[in-house]
Amino acid sequence: MIKGLKDKLAVLGPFVGLLFVFAIFLIISPRSFISGYNLKTIITQTVIVGIGALGMTFVIISGGIDLSVGSLIALVTIVIAKTLHLVDVHSSLGVWSAALLAILVSSFVGFLNGFITAIWRIVPFIVTLGMMQIARGLAKWLANEQTVVAPMTGLNNLMNVDPEPAWLIFAPGVWLMIGLTAIVFIVLKYTVFGRYVFVLGSNEQAARLCGIKVRLHRIWVYTLGGAFAGIAGVMQFANLTIGDPTAAVGLELDIIAAVVIGGGSLSGGEGSAVGSILGALMMAILRNGCNLVGIPTYVQNILIGSIIIGAVAIDRLRHKK
């Protein structure tokens, strides 16, 4: 009985934390905090980190890490901006193929991460640290070290806090994030692939002895990480409306933090889609609330840092019992 309760607490933990942070800002911040527009802004601000965190959830559950995500997002904005100059921006087919191409590029880089990690057996921290530099370099090279101006297209509506048509209420990106969360939730919990992602991080030896293709699944995990970074990159582009090779520097750390706050374990075997989104949401609320109250960014950094350490410390205490 008690065990079951504890398991539920594990799922509830990030949710309770989120409510707690929300409640605090409800008390200390001006009324504008809970205005419809501000709430919509917060959730829109969650989208990029949130979608990145969904991909990172696969990677972290499998016992890996991906540091190249921030650079990938920048690379994606450049690829889209460049491609939009080559396609017919008036046809939605052209516009979406630009986004699709960018996601494919990002997935391919993720595949390389996985291939090098699994086949050459180099630790993912090093592989993706290297890829972080390589992708950033590629982005700058493609962009001639400048921002790349792009024509206005439907892509820009993706992150519009007041979207068209208005009945959507939230930006299309938000709906996409919610849909992807549901998909990742189902994949992790109810599919064979999801099961194998957990085993990779829990006991790779066991996976091998059970005849599971460990290397293949590892490659898939990083490819998915790259794909989600690609989608996050499309959202970043929608936000910026231009390609920026210096965008999203250090964003991978926010993404990793979201997964960890949401219950992911850097030693693998633990993590959840909903938890990661809640982690991303908590950080967005914290940033937004602090800005409204007028708390300087350096205090925000200290707060977010404390929450990351605190979330993991609470998690450890829970496991000790």
Partner: protein, 499 residues
């Protein structure tokens, strides 16, 4: 009489120059538990790796259920109905019991996993343990239950032959009994087991037949009922004592180390003994008997639950100011059995490794190192233990295994301690280095040092020790002069806990 399920004939395997198996025969009857017995390095694991498909034999043939059998890998072996359960369990701690049992054989419909509650429950019921909660995560159930889950997994795979490697080494007695109950039930249902264990009493309890391996050869096999533990031990040991142990009379002096009631269940169970100046005290026992743990408690590397350690005139209690630093100061040094992970920083220079624990001697008030003085002292001690090196600043990894081990020993000597705890100092090194280390240990004792020598290699314990104690599952026998022990008595104590 049941038919023969598995027949292995003339199995040989060679790794580089080392012959691991020579013409080994093994026949296992259907529906029996067959014990595979032998000392460490006798070839049991190699033979079982061949059977479970992880290794290919150089020569020999196998039949399983009458048909030729030569698996290309663990997967093929499993498909043929041969499952291996390793000592280190291969369950995923974060997954539930049911998820672990169906790992690799998941059923899915439209990509969605179909739970196999019924099959999993049925497998557990076959073992007589339907009470294990299928929804619980594996890390939340006991080690004994994990063992059962692993067996249930092999049942789910329709295994005919289950190989168990030291299944009880980390189990409490009641878990062992539960395991035996499960094995008995399955045996009646026609499942066959190969059971590897060092605990001869347990083997007598559970096994129908046995095969003894020694130095890669099958030396004896037969029916368990028709043999005795002493006879099995004789088959296991039966090797001539090599003439490689120097032994000079040591002058036994006053008590320098007194251990009283070190207790840390289940690993160490109220261990007490005394060590005298000039004495080499051997500690025998099987892997996992608690010997290493005892040394770590004495040295203060881990804190025991209770006990008292007196080093000369200083008395320590676990947890209260007893740590490696205080031990070293009191004149007690320890050399770990695990030189690569705990003993040496193998990428650092030989010199730095040897002087690690005595840097205070080679530095001034401000922590500046006196490199010349250090190098001189290190060179002296390195020459004394006869390390063969090109340059004292070369990394330790450039040395051979024997010379690495001597470097670890040199560090202990440089500490200048009068009492040394040596854990498996000759494991995995060449014979020449072994003899050099024996000679050195003998010399040290002649000079009045007191030494505790933990070893799994009986000939060396008999060759160089003055006195000996044996450990069995955390308990230590009385310390007796070496002349009052023989190999069979030691093996008996080590495998049964009784004289």
């Amino acid at each position: 009489m049941p038919d023969i399920l598995l027949h292995m004939e003339g199995i040989s395997k060679q790794f580089e120059a080392v012959v691991a198996l020579k013409n080994v025969d093994l026949s296992v009857r259907t529906g029996t538990v067959h014990a595979l017995i032998g000392e460490n390095g006798a070839g049991k694991s190699t033979l079982m790796k061949i059977l479970s498909g992880s290794l290919k034999p150089d020569a020999g043939a196998m039949t399983l259920g009458g048909a030729p059998y030569s698996p290309d890998g663990p997967k093929q072996a499993r498909d043929a109905g041969v499952s291996m359960i390793y000592q280190e369990l291969t369950l995923a701690p974060h997954l539930t019991v049911e998820e672990n049992m169906t790992l690799g054989v998941e059923l899915s419909r439209g990509g969605i996993i179909q739970r196999q509650w019924a099959r999993a429950a049925e497998a557990l019921a076959m073992l007589g343990h339907a009470n294990i909660d299928l929804r619980k995560k594996v890390r939340e159930i006991s080690l004994g239950q994990q063992q059962l889950v692993e067996i249930a997994r092999s049942l789910l795979l329709q295994s005919r032959l289950i190989i168990m490697d030291e299944p009880t080494s980390s189990l409490a007695r009641e878990d062992t009994l539960a395991l035996f109950g499960a094995i008995n039930r399955l045996r009646q249902q026609g499942v066959t087991f190969i059971y590897i264990s060092h605990f001869l009493e347990e083997i007598q309890e559970i096994a129908d037949d046995y095969t003894v391996l020694r130095d890669g050869e099958s030396v004896s096999s037969g029916c368990m009922r028709e043999t005795t533990i002493p006879r099995l031990v004789a088959h296991m040991v039966g090797r001539p004592l090599e003439q490689m142990f120097p032994h000079h009379p040591h002058k036994i002096g006053a008590v320098v180390l007194a251990i009283r009631g070190i207790d840390h269940p289940p690993h160490v169970n109220k261990v007490s003994f005394e060590l005298h100046a000039g004495e080499i005290l051997g500690v025998a026992g099987l892997v996992g008997a608690g010997r290493t743990e005892t040394l770590r408690f004495i040295f203060g590397l881990d804190d025991a639950a209770a006990g008292e350690i007196t080093v000369r005139d200083k008395t320590f209690q676990p947890g209260r100011g007893h740590h490696p630093g205080s031990s070293l100061k009191a004149g007690l040094s320890m050399m770990s059995e695990n030189r690569k992970d705990e003993g040496l920083a193998i990428n650092l220079p030989i010199r730095n490794n040897i002087s690690f624990s005595s840097l205070a001697k080679f530095s001034d008030l401000f922590g500046r190192l006196k490199l010349k003085k250090e190098t001189k002292a290190v060179t002296r001690v390195a020459d004394r233990v006869a390390i063969k090196y090109a340059n004292i600043t070369d990394p330790v990894i450039s040395l051979s295994g024997g010379n690495q081990q001597k470097s670890a020993l040199a560090r202990v000597l440089l500490d200048g301690s009068g009492i040394l705890l040596l854990d498996e100092p000759t494991r995995g090194i060449d014979v020449l280095s072994k003899v050099e280390i024996y000679t050195l240990i003998d010399e040290l004792a002649t000079q009045g040092l007191a030494i505790v020598l933990v070893s799994s290699y009986l000939p060396e314990l008999f060759g160089i020790c003055d006195s000996l104690a044996v450990m069995y599952r955390g308990k230590m026998s009385a310390v007796r002069p070496i002349s009052q022990w023989d190999e069979q008595a030691v093996m008996r104590w080590a495998t049964t806990g009784k004289a």
